[in-house]
Amino acid sequence: MRSRILPRAWLKGTFLILGGIILLFIIAPVGKMIFASSPSILMESLRDSEITSSILLTLYAALLATVIGFVLGVPLAYLLAKTQFPGKKLIEGIIDLPLVIPHSAAGIALLFVFGRNYFMGQAFDGIGIRFLDSLAGIVIAMLFVSVPFLIDSAKEGFKKVDPRLENVARTLGATPWKTFSRISFPLARRSITAGCILMWARGMSEFGAVIIIAYHPMIAPVLVYEKFETYGLNYARPIAVILILISLVVFVVLRFLLYRRERS
């Protein structure tokens, strides 16, 4: 990292002021939520079983989505990072689709496949899994909107693994599977972990797709909305604060991982 002479004062000053506005715009709402909340109200909210169970449900559903994303997504990330084939760009495009599809529209789209009257819905119905207003529905909504984060991060991680390390492993007698499990995966592990955390955080924060498929059982972001609609801003606030605090903790862990990845 090479340091440079800073732009002259006026340019830097203008840029700092403009940048400062956007920083304040992000910090102010989050900071105010956290610091203006009285701890006693928060503690009380944590004793409210409706709130705690919705938060636990959110964490659990996002975790399930992440596990599924890990099992299905990491192998795909490896193929995309390490092999060349026609249509690769198309597949990379498809994976990023959920990032731009409006969340409520994504929920509608998922219902047209997983709803009880539709193909996958019927198939899963046979083994007793229903999606409408159920944990399974929450999980697929979260999976849909958040899996691109894991796949992209894992792909970047695998790409950074020097192919020569894998080549050397092969010549030393490692099979493709051993090369993957002993060399590529361990070396990409930090990126994959960061991707999992990002996916989990993104899953937890989903609202639009989930509310369409499963208003009940109520995940925390839906509960925030419900309280806001029914009782108003001040009743929605404690849950929102708790959610933001959880996100922040997850986020700090994530930044720490990313920071160490950049340095190594």
């Binding site: 020097d162 390390l165 010549t171 490692a174 060399i183 070396l187």
Partner: protein, 350 residues
């Protein structure tokens, strides 16, 4: 030992057309060619990491063209050493033995032999990222050799090292090769490195194997302008064979006549190496033979040695040591004599 037949590799802009090359058992072969000549791709193709479009590769008589890398018993050492950064030096060296499921006793022996050979016992618990360039090189060689490969492939082992470590590792490679006698294929873009290390040298360029031979052959008897240019034989003259006086053979280029040694060389280019061209004060220039006089037009200082361009015409370049340079007090514009033996003129067909 290594027998490559009609190998054809394509990779983006780069192609290797119809390359054939034989390396004897225990031989140290250096493949030299300009950057971008696909030297690394050649190694990776031999190791099975890259599929050739056509052609055959045999190792110890076994056709390995369709085998996976792990079935070929070929070790590769890359320029940047490619040590596994998440494993200790010990685990790096043991990696191959573990993958090949070598039995415990044999594995212990091979490991200790490699550690002893490279004198790296003190490094075993270190993290590879903390090693110096020379240390990394040794560990990479130890890892490659402790699985007792049939063939060792080495990719530009010296080019990322500073001049002094380079000489040290060069000596190490020579010692190693004498000790283990493992068939080695070493690629480099550095002609000096090839001359210093190779039992034989293969020059590749423009997608072809241009010439294979001993360093002396490549140096003195290039078979093409490409090889002559790559070996920095600066004096290449077009012309034709002719009869000279007293029944001797000659080569005529423009107004110049070079006497040749008797022999059956034929061709339309003559090449004379700069180090075979002597500079003499004009007064002591002998009569007859390959002697000419001319004016110094450029002196390129290379430190210990200097290249002196003398306009006859044409220009002929002589290599002078700094000692000669000082003694003769050489200067641009000075008139000097040049001479060279008839045996120094090599003729080839372009």
């Amino acid at each position: 030992m290594i027998s490559i037949r009609n190998l054809c590799v394509e990779l983006g802009d780069f192609t290797l057309k119809d390359a054939s090359l034989d390396v004897e058992d225990g031989e140290y072969m250096v493949v030299v060619g300009p950057s971008g000549a696909g030297k690394t791709v050649l190694l990776e193709t031999i190791a099975g990491l890259f599929h050739p479009r056509r052609g055959e590769i045999r190792l110890r008589g076994r056709d390995v063209t369709r085998l996976s890398p792990e079935e070929r018993h070929v070790s590769i050492v890359y320029q940047d050493h490619a040590l596994f950064p998440h494993l200790s030096v010990r685990d790096n060296i043991l990696f191959g033995l573990r993958m090949r499921k070598t039995d415990a006793k044999q594995s212990r022996q091979a490991f200790s032999r490699a550690v002893e050979l490279f004198n790296i016992a003190a490094l075993l618990d270190r993290d590879p990222t903390t090693l110096s360039g020379g240390e990394r090189q040794k560990v990479a060689l130890a890892r490659a050799l402790c699985v007792s490969p049939d063939v060792l492939l080495v990719d530009e082992p010296l080019s990322s090292l500073d001049p002094r470590t380079r000489e040290e590792i060069e000596a190490e490679l020579q010692r190693l090769h004498r000790a283990l006698d493992v068939t080695t294929l070493h690629v480099t873009h550095n002609f000096e490195e090839a001359v210093a290390l190779g039992d034989r040298i293969a020059v590749i360029g423009e997608g072809e194997v241009k010439q294979v031979g001993t360093p002396e052959d490549i140096f003195r008897k290039p078979n093409s302008e490409f090889v002559a240019g790559f070996a920095m034989s600066r004096n290449i003259y077009p012309g034709e064979l002719c009869a000279a006086d007293a029944g001797r053979r000659g080569f005529k280029s423009g107004n110049l006549l070079f006497y040749l040694e008797n022999g059956n060389a034929a061709g339309n280019r003559a090449v004379i190496r700069p180090e075979d061209v002597m500079l003499l004060p004009r007064e002591v220039l002998p009569n007859g033979g390959n002697t000419f006089a001319g004016e110094i037009v450029r002196i390129a200082d290379r430190g210990s040695t200097l290249y002196v361009d003398v306009q006859l015409p044409p220009v002929i370049t002589a290599l002078a040591t700094r000692h000669t340079f000082r003694e003769m007090n050489l200067k641009t514009g000075m008139r000097v004599g040049v001479c060279f033996d008839a045996s120094s003129v090599h003729v080839f067909q372009e």
